[in-house]
């Protein structure tokens, strides 16, 4: 399994080419330029959006001019700091849910992959629960955990736990028998076997699970805040829609989209660094 997509490795290869500039500043400039070129369709859509609103072809109640959205964004971030508060709250909830799910999911996945009794107990449970849309459990979570942070963190935990535990279990189960045998004949204890062989060997697949879980966390944080919350980006979007403030609504949408994109890129970069040892030509 490769984490780095084809286009990623291609853009990296470009940077290492013989024509690559020498100075770091020039290199940074080049990367920025390359990013703009690569994502030109996004900028093109923004441009069309702006032109269409200027020509009065878009209903400002749905699609206000991009300039208004930018102004609102600036206001909310640098003057009132409102937006920062909502971003912080959403990030905290998503991060807490994801973090707990990572710890529990990796732990349970390793145990399932290594201990037969735990595997035969958890496997049917996970197979049965995995296809359930976790959002359907949100009302239940609110009954148990209230409408505050706890129910949202709980929901995100549930949603993220499954992709992480399933990938970890798969990864651990598929560790090459000969790696394990090699380690055992070199004197590794069971604990050392897990830390020094099973986990590093399974890590690329675990990491792919984490990436899926991260996008799930973003989905669930917005959905749960849309349903019931007093703050957070989902709440902000819903609040703006109800108070006929389309510019604010679009600020919220673009921020959440940008956050999702940034976090995913960050994970990709981290994966590329963690898995330099991988043979991508295999």
């Amino acid at each position: 399994m490769t984490i780095v997509t084809v286009s990623d490795s291609a853009s990296r290869a470009e940077g290492e080419g013989p024509g690559a500039p020498k100075s770091p500043a020039a290199e940074l400039h080049r990367i920025r330029f390359a990013a703009v070129v690569r994502y030109y369709p996004v900028f093109l859509i923004f441009l069309i959006w702006e032109i269409l609103s200027r020509l009065d072809l878009l209903d400002p109640m749905f699609m206000p001019p991009l300039e208004d959205v930018a102004r609102t964004f600036y206001q909310e971030v640098f003057v009132t700091h409102e937006l920062l508060h909502h971003i912080g709250v959403s990030f905290m909830r998503a991060g807490a849910g994801l973090g707990l799910a990572a710890v529990a999911g990796i732990g349970a996945g390793v145990l399932m992959g290594r201990v037969r009794v735990i595997e035969s107990f958890l496997d049917p449970l996970i197979s049965a629960l995995f296809p359930t849309p976790k959002l359907a459990l949100f009302p239940l979570m609110m009954i148990f955990l209230g409408i505050g942070d706890a129910s949202k963190i709980g929901l995100i935990f549930l949603g993220c736990f499954f992709p992480i535990v399933i990938n970890t279990y798969t990864g651990v189960k598929n560790v090459d028998k000969f790696f394990i045998w090699n380690a055992l004949t070199k004197g590794a204890s069971q604990r050392q076997l897990i830390w020094h062989v099973v986990l590093p060997a399974a890590l690329p697949i675990v990491f792919a699970g984490l990436r899926v879980a991260t996008s799930t966390a973003f989905l669930l944080i917005v959905a749960s805040e849309l349903i019931a919350a007093n703050d957070g980006l989902g709440y902000l979007i819903m609040f703006a829609e109800r108070s006929f403030d389309p510019a604010l609504m679009w600020s919220g949408i673009l921020v959440i989209a940008g956050m999702g994109f940034a976090v995913d890129r960050l994970l990709l970069a981290l994966g590329g660094r963690l898995f330099v040892w991988q043979d991508n030509n295999k």
Binding site: L184, T185, P200
Partner: protein, 269 residues
Amino acid sequence: MTSAAITHPDAAAVHVDVRRISQRFSSGRGRDLLALDRVDLQAHRGEFVSIVGPSGCGKSTLLYIIAGLLRSSDGEVLVDGKPIVGPDPDRGLVLQNSSIFPWRTVAENVAFGPQMRGVAESERRSLVARYLDMVGLSKFANFYPRELSGGMKQRIAIAQMLACGPSVFLMDEPFGALDSLSREVLQDQLLQLWERDRKTVLFVTHSIDEAVLLSDRIVVMSPLPGRVKEVVRVDLPRPRQETRTLPEFGRLRGHIWSAIRQETMEVIG
């Protein structure tokens, strides 16, 4: 050349003693497959013993049992007179396909065993330097295995084993996946290494040439069920660098081939 002489008169020097090992695998549908049938084998301290036979004769299974990685259905393995209870760094293992860890650099791979038994960082570094030098790969200390050729990976696997200081080398077709040139180079290197330290080696191969070139004795196995068919003593002079051209080499080779030809034909055909 003496045939079928399994027990050695000098029993005190027996290092690895395989006693009536049988291995049954359940193949589903209630029928068991007898992979090994009462196999006896003795390797003396400092002896190079090869195990040859067609595929399906259980030679690799036998080696994994001696390594302590598989539990035999019957019989026991003694090392220095004591029954083995599981894998142990004293019985080093080198496998056919590179089982070195791709997420560790060459140096980290060689340091694996010492790291597991808690050897200090500085001492580990000198061990790594020594064994990498021994296999001629000092320049590649910071490379990842994916950047190395198949032959280099197997040399790393050997260095990794050496760093654990084993008294027995268990080698499962270590050069089986290499091209013939790399194979000959590694055979020579292994011989040099062995002639210097004289460790006990159990070497599984399906190449009769390789077995004759390297060994003091060759255990010839036949398949279904896996049995010891014959034990052949190789009295060719050492060092063996020029051995391939001796008439005795060809004679031994022909003898072993005729011993397993019938079964090999059946397995393949």
